[in-house]
């Protein structure tokens, strides 16, 4: 069992969701995060004072999945999230020891 986590540009979420849907991924969990990295932020002005905004809005997408599908899913996300511009984000994979579906108590693959 694996957890694929992606940090992407907000505008790409739709595309990523579609891509995962196409792969038959049944569900995913997303959240708003802020990213700091190579991508430069912007500047705001308030009554003559300038503010450098270093953190940029990103979306975190998490997908629990079977070992076998990891590569397909990673590739799908990378493909859908790419704009080719700095700040496209990262995708990473971590191991999951157990998954349970709250509603039924099913475990493992059945929980997905």
């Amino acid at each position: 069992m694996k957890l694929v986590t992606a940090v992407i540009k907000p505008y790409q979420l739709d595309a990523v969701k579609e891509a995962l849907h196409a792969l038959g991924v049944a569900g995913l969990t997303v959240s708003e995060v802020q990213g700091y990295g190579r991508q430069k932020g912007h500047t705001e002005v308030y009554r003559g004072a300038e503010y450098t905004v270093e953190f940029l809005p990103k979306i975190r997408v998490e997908v629990l999945t079977d070992e076998m599908d990891v590569d397909k899913i990673v590739d799908a996300i990378v493909g859908a999230a790419r704009t080719g511009k700095i700040g496209d984000g990262k995708v990473w994979v971590t191991g999951v020891e157990e998954v349970v579906r709250v509603r039924t108590g099913e475990r493992g693959l059945d929980a997905l």
Binding site: P10, Y11, L13, D14, K17, E32, P57, I59
Partner: protein, 470 residues
């Protein structure tokens, strides 16, 4: 021989302005109530006020004004056909209060007076909605508003101001609506809240205001508009209008202090919600009294009303009814305080109309004995019983027929989405740049407009969009 009917510029302008001010109070109330409500029900709460403006205005024009201010039939209602909406009243002589001896009346066109009284009816109905937040079917609310306005507000306005039993026969005083508006709405709120029952989770769960600056804004607009409500009720530009205006400001200011003092002592901290609530409590309490008492009595009234209402709002926890936004604790209690205050401090020395027009007597502390106090109490009692009773029956009938309460699931997930297919906020800066942030606050995901017959999206994307794709 009386001179020809003439419009009084000053009086008419004052009533036009006052009408606009009172109209503004209902959106102000919507913001006040909306801010006090939880985020998932703010729109439904505001809709109850906005729909009241729509519905009650039309009813008032059609027959409400006639029932309230038409020639008295039997002390209970006015001739319903008197000013029926289908008729027009624009003759030279259509001035309010015009009589053979005084062909100009107060020198104000009938339609101006009708509009002024219209907005009173609107807000009185809207006030009730604060007791039933997050759980009432919108259709049920509309039915209730229609029924209550027709069976309660229109007649009660007649009883108090239209030559009916309370004003003309009982000689009880009510300058701008302590009995007709606040006791009336507060009693109805209790009646309907009892039928609807408590919100899911109340009082175990915390249900705190979702947007306190909105509450303060609403309170500010109410305060502003209330000058038209109170000082406008003098109907003419004279020193009593000035007194009513000053007393409104003084009592409200004092009530803010009174409420904050109680909070500070009882809860340890003075709050912004408390300051806003105190202002409303003061405005409510001074409403019946503003033109009948001296300024020092108004300051005292404000302090008392602010303090007492600050304590009264906890009653619902003891008694176990969910008056969600404290319509009873603020309007019912505040209305009673102000109305009884007249039995103590009303004095002809500030306004001769007390004896000359209403035939009422001075208050206890002005040597009038207990007479007026009794009249005020009786008047309040009559309205309380009638209003609460009819409200309870209406709510009960609605609940038994179309059902007045939404499903518990809908309530938990949020009545805004369930009843209005809307959610109030979507503040994420990434919203609409794809669904990215659309859901951040309003629980919204990838949103799509319903496919339209000829959806332009099917056409090749226009240049601009391409820029992004590339």
């Amino acid at each position: 021989m009386p001179e020809a009917p003439t419009i009084d510029g000053g009086n008419t302008v004052w009533l036009l302005v006052s009408t606009a001010l009172v109209l503004l109070m209902t959106p102000g109330l919507a913001l006040f109530y909306g801010g006090l409500n939880r985020a998932k029900g703010v729109l439904n709460m505001m809709m109850m006020s906005f729909s009241a403006i729509g519905l009650i205005s039309v009813l008032w024009w059609f027959y409400g004004f006639s029932v309230a201010f038409g020639a008295d039939v039997n002390g209970l209602w006015g001739d319903p056909g008197a000013y029926l909406g289908t008729k027009t009243f624009l003759a030279e002589t259509d001035l309010w209060g015009a009589t053979a001896e005084n062909p100009s009346g107060i020198g104000v066109p009938l339609y101006v007076f009708m509009a002024f009284q219209m907005v009173f009816a609107v807000i009185t109905v809207a006030l009730i909605s604060g007791a039933i937040s997050d759980r009432a079917k919108f259709a049920g609310w509309l039915l209730f508003a229609f029924g209550w306005a027709t069976l309660v507000y229109f007649p009660v306005a007649h009883w108090v101001w239209g030559g009916g039993i309370i004003g003309a026969k009982l000689h009880a005083l009510d300058f701008a609506g302590g009995t007709a508006v606040h006791i009336n709405a507060g009693a109805a709120a209790l009646g309907v809240a009892l039928v609807l029952g408590r919100r899911v989770g109340w009082p175990r769960e915390g249900m705190k205001p979702h947007n306190i600056p909105l509450v303060a804004l609403g309170a500010g607009l109410l305060w502003f508009g209330w000058f038209g409500f109170n000082a406008g009720s003098e109907l003419t530009v004279d020193s009593v209008a000035g007194l009513a205006f000053l007393n409104t400001q003084l009592a409200t200011a004092a009530a803010v202090l009174g409420w904050l003092a109680i909070e500070w002592i009882k809860d340890g901290k003075p709050t912004m919600v408390g300051a806003s609530s105190g202002a409303v409590a003061g405005l409510v309490a001074i409403t019946p009294a503003c033109g009948f008492i001296a300024p020092w009595a108004a300051v005292l009234l404000g302090l008392v009303a602010g303090a007492v209402c600050a304590l009264a709002i906890s009653l619902k926890y003891r008694l176990g009814y969910d008056d969600s936004l404290d319509v009873v604790g603020v309007h019912f209690v505040g209305g009673w305080i102000g109305s009884l205050w007249l039995g103590l401090f009303a004095t002809n020395s500030v306004n001769g109309a007390i004896s000359d027009v209403v035939g009422a007597s001075d208050g206890l502390f002005y040597g009038g004995g207990l007479t007026q106090l009794g009249r005020q109490a009786l008047a309040g009692l009559i309205v309380t019983v009638w209003s609460a009773g009819i409200a309870w029956l209406l709510a009960f009938a609605i609940d038994k027929t179309i059902g007045f309460r939404v499903a518990a699931e809908a309530e938990v997930d949020g009545i805004d989405v369930a009843e209005h297919a809307e959610s109030a906020y979507d503040l994420s800066p990434t919203t609409g740049g794809g669904a990215g942030g659309a859901f951040a606050l309003a629980g919204i995901g990838a949103a799509r407009p319903a496919p339209e017959p000829t959806d332009p999206a099917e056409e090749p994307a226009e240049p601009v969009s391409e820029k992004v794709a590339g």
